[in-house]
Symmetry: C2
Subunit: 205 residues, 2 copies
């Protein structure tokens, strides 16, 4: 159960299991097996059993997993049994798409503020949000205790904005800018860059 | 050099190296070291040397890597020394953002067609593209020989559309729908789901 000892690659699969289990629950299912879950997510049953057993004994031989119970446990492990406020920085096309994205519902995240440094965008509506001036970002984030941010600024601005976010207390950054950003220990970054994802596939073509 | 023998996790890092090297080249740099590249992308110099050495001896002891040479080699390995036509399916908010995204330039990909099954969207402009009827998708993709697609449809439609794409000859799908999709052997899928990326970080908070 020591967080430091579980490989990050296992942690990375838990949200995939959680998403599939949520869908099963939405479809009215009550129990599942590692085989069924595995078929659903394209991961072997043995791998799923091994991954989940890192956190305790959540399944029963013969009867499999209780979906509501495993959902609760996975949400607790991933700390999405609560709601995280998210700051969105960058109100361009991608920022707009994320501000209006419905896929965060019931998954632990709620965008609560949107920033841009373009004065012509400040005060404009993006989804249900009014864009705030990036000059007020650090102060606003600190005051609200926001720990999670999404970065949809140009590559040239990403590091500088990330530095400000970290100084303001942000501990997790989902970076859409097509550039690696450096953060201190204790801060996590995940990158979403469609071109790198595509390149990872063309290797095999 | 056998493609099947190199772990996918290494392949996944190559686009990150490529992106950082491209940026160095854009800044006029001619050579770099594994240390410098590592500092740039947040990966150890030893790991970088090990990853790159899987494909041959591209660096010289003492002088490091020639950036243009390593760029050429990585592009060749990832097969982005050519241009891949990409079909975008789903002209919603995320589809719009991707159709207008500038981050594909010089990275091996060019969106060439956009589809939606919503008749009110067909014929509309999305970025520089005119949305085509999804009913014509399979035929158009087959005729054009498109091998790569991006899927920005609702979760409920994702598997059905993916099946059609595969039947039409698509070999790589970048899936933005928040659901796992199953594809036959020989077809690659990468998933982009901001909520799963965020959940992977909150675990550590």
């Amino acid at each position: 159960m020591n967080a430091e000892k579980i490989p990050d690659i296992i942690i990375g699969r838990l949200p995939i299991y959680l998403r599939a289990l949520q869908r099963m629950a939405d479809n009215g299912m009550k129990t599942t097996s590692s085989q069924e879950l595995g078929d659903n997510v394209g991961i072997s049953a043995a791998q799923i059993r091994k991954d989940i057993s890192q956190f305790g004994e959540f399944g029963k031989q013969g009867t499999g997993y209780s979906i509501p119970y495993l959902l609760d446990k996975l949400r607790e492990i991933l700390k999405v049994d609560r709601m995280w406020d998210v700051a969105l920085v960058g109100a361009g096309d991608m920022g707009h798409a994320l501000a209006r994205y419905q896929g965060f519902v019931n998954r632990g995240f709620c965008i609560t503020m949107v920033f841009d440094n373009d004065k012509s965008k400040v005060g404009q509506k993006v989804g249900e949000f009014v864009v705030e001036d990036a000059a007020t970002m650090a102060e606003r984030i600190k005051a609200a205790g926001v720990k999670v941010a999404m970065l949809t600024v140009p590559a040239s601005a990403a590091q500088e904005v990330a530095d400000k976010l970290v100084q303001a207390g942000v501990k997790g950054i989902l970076n859409y800018a097509p550039i690696s950003i450096n953060v201190p220990n204790g801060v996590k970054v995940q990158h979403i860059d469609p071109a790198t994802h595509l390149q990872r596939m063309t290797y095999y073509l």
